[in-house]
Subunit: 428 residues, 2 copies
């Protein structure tokens, strides 16, 4: 992991990988197949990409029961505790409809309504990510979404992770479909014989999943385009390099393209972290992935002072930001862009991945400049409410006529005019 | 305008036009040109598509001053009054950061921050839409966005609408660029010598604008993909067919592809509206557009009762919904999907286009199922806040270790483990 004490901050700016034209063509082709052949295309594509020959797409009751037997009771207990924390946090995000009433009888407002039906994409295959189930399903439930389905790719044996099924079961979700990749997104957007079309698709996935989400955007809602994970640890000299290195590696082990960065004004800490990363890599099970990540994507940026360190943070707009300094709250007002901010020496990023309560589906690759953590907001939509009284109408009608006339829209003018005439008749 | 008393509700479901592969290729090509040649590409493309040979992209101070002389003072007064209403309504959408504090010292929260820089696309050319300036800029200002720029296509003479400039001027926006279409979206996403790259692009446009927004989605934020406008007037027998017809035509005159629909359980009203539409079309300046719209896209659906009429509403998920019935509030709880809901006989849709206060940038083509009116929410982003105390860490650490172990992420486990060990040392 290189230490850089001279660097152009503007070079640190990242943005989402939007794939190659070949990848996009592959995705467009998969979507077309699913639209044309429905379930049959899903069976075919699942055999091709996951190596699984399925006889049905939907996970059975027996598979759910088997899953509960496979997962350790302690893990189930921890999932239950996590659910409670995540639910409690997301309940704070609930919003109410509101209205403004005017004396003349006019009413304006904003209605908040849950989406009808949502699809959560849970990555899978060899790995098992029950935490992704919790993070995508709970905010939808808190929002009041009535129908939630999950798609997740099966293993070559046609199985889906027991942990994923247990997490779904604990949340009362019984519609889980064994399909992943772009074909899962296509099925959720357009519907097949088995899988219902949903109003919004959420959850992280690989580049094909991201490209498919972009393709169906507008047909259905999507949460965001997610890329490989990233972390930025902003640390001062007082911090323990063992902890800093461990936190960096916790993101690096996700993906060779994951980006783990340390920013510090302390050369002593920079060098200690550099050594410690090497030491910890030695014994890490996923060392190959983590090493590729820290060597290619990672860096330790040595800044003049904390002020410049914060500038680096705001340029990178990290997905995860750890602020490990003596007075972390003093920096909070300066930090403008970050998906999740972890303050202080104990707030290690994995706490947020699993347990603290806030969502772990976060904007990656600098998109925290304009995107937000997945939240209850993603599962509601708003409607404006406009109710004019006769009196309000008389007061405002003339303004509307003037502006519509200026824009050259005569039918707009008439819609007001005809009503004003009627009002005048009444006045007579 | 046909009256249909038998129809399959599912056939009414619409979705956004995502264009043809040729259109997409044209857009990808334009974006590439702008990325490579910057301003030079913009000059070239503006000459090609708008017929304007520009010497500079940015609107000058002189052009602003000239615009104020061109626009009637009464129109300016109405714009000012509209600004006040729109601002007041959007101020109700402001949200605060919040935090939860626990007794052990742990703090969780959600920070709300404005975006840094936003680009508003304002359609133009022959038409002038100052109202689009108000609707895209005001919510950004209320959110606290510091830098707002506008792009709008010039006429063949190289001019932009005086009304657009006056509206911008009244809002204190002085960066207006003469560029439209996909090239404007490319410039806002990637930046050129003159036009800064922005964090989010908002505002309606034609199919090329929509496709370009989809292409740059992820590089920058976008609000939504907008299609041609639509309106659904739900009316009972008591309503004045003159008003219903006028409201339908007010959307129909926008675009031959605009969709104006009346839904009613009253055959008498249906027939009266049908006649009245023909009568009003006779004398309408934009009759060709409006006639194409009502004949091809429009319809009057005759339903069994109001209940079935509401089902039609929820299937279509209209952009604009007028509820012209005796007791409109009694239906409000049943209406699930609509961009803006206008209640009662006086709430004619054009009031919402210009003046009432709520935004007129609304989800079209059935996307109200999952999308919302443009709002202050579009101009902020959230960051989660996680601050564990030592005590909170000791309580939760073991859960995190179990869940990370289950997911096979050893570096995640270690990040917690190393800190717990340190804690144990201290306890000794």
């Amino acid at each position: 992991m290189k230490i850089l004490d001279r660097f152009d901050k503007q070079d640190l700016r990242r943005s989402i990988d939007t794939g190659t034209e070949e990848q996009r063509q592959a995705v467009v082709d998969i979507i077309q197949q699913v639209r044309e052949a429905g379930d049959q295309a899903l069976f075919r594509l699942t055999e091709k990409f996951d190596g699984a020959r399925l006889s049905q797409l939907e996970v059975t009751r027996q598979e759910f029961e088997q899953a509960y037997r496979e997962v350790d009771q302690q893990v189930i207990d921890s999932l239950r505790a996590a659910i409670e924390n995540i639910r409690r946090f997301h309940e704070h995000q609930q919003r109410s409809s509101w209205m403004i009433t005017e004396e003349d009888g006019t009413v304006l407002g904003q209605l908040i309504r849950p989406l009808d039906r949502v699809g959560a994409y849970v990555p899978g295959g060899t790995a098992a990510y029950p935490s992704s189930v919790l993070m995508t399903v709970i905010p939808a439930q808190v929002a009041g979404v009535e129908e939630i389905v999950i798609t997740t790719p099966p293993s070559a044996e046609g199985k889906v992770s027991a942990g994923v099924l247990v997490a779904a079961g604990l949340l009362g979700i019984d519609k889980v479909y064994k399909v992943g990749g772009a074909q899962a997104i296509a099925a959720l957007a357009y519907g097949t014989e088995t899988i219902p079309a949903v109003d919004k698709i959420v959850g992280p996935g690989n580049i094909y999943v991201a490209l498919a989400k972009r393709e169906v955007f507008g047909i259905t809602g999507i949460d965001m385009l997610a890329g490989p994970s990233d972390i930025l640890v902003l640390a001062d000299e007082e911090q323990d390099p063992v902890h800093v290195a461990a936190d960096l590696l916790s993101q690096a082990e996700h993906d060779p393209l994951a980006c783990a960065v340390c920013v510090t004004p302390s050369r002593r800490l920079a060098e200690a972290v550099q050594k410690e990363v090497i030491r910890q890599l030695d014994t890490l099970p996923r060392a190959d992935i983590a090493r590729a990540s820290v060597e290619k994507q990672g860096a330790i940026y040595l800044t003049r002072d904390l002020e410049e360190a914060v500038e680096v943070v705001n340029t990178i707009a990290p997905e995860h930001l750890q602020v490990m300094v003596k007075e972390p709250y003093a920096l909070l007002g300066k930090i403008k862009h970050a998906g999740a901010i972890f303050l202080g020496a104990y707030s290690s990023e994995p706490l947020g991945d699993y347990f603290a309560g806030p969502n772990h589906v976060l904007p990656t690759n600098g998109t925290a400049r304009f995107s937000s953590p997945l939240s209850v907001d993603d599962f509601i939509k708003k409607s404006s409410l406009i109710h004019y009284s006769a009196e309000g109408f008389r007061r405002d009608g003339q303004h509307v006529i003037r502006l519509a006339e200026y824009e050259g829209l005569a039918a707009h003018v008439r819609a007001i005019d005809y009503r004003l005439e009627r009002e005048e008749e009444r006045d007579v």
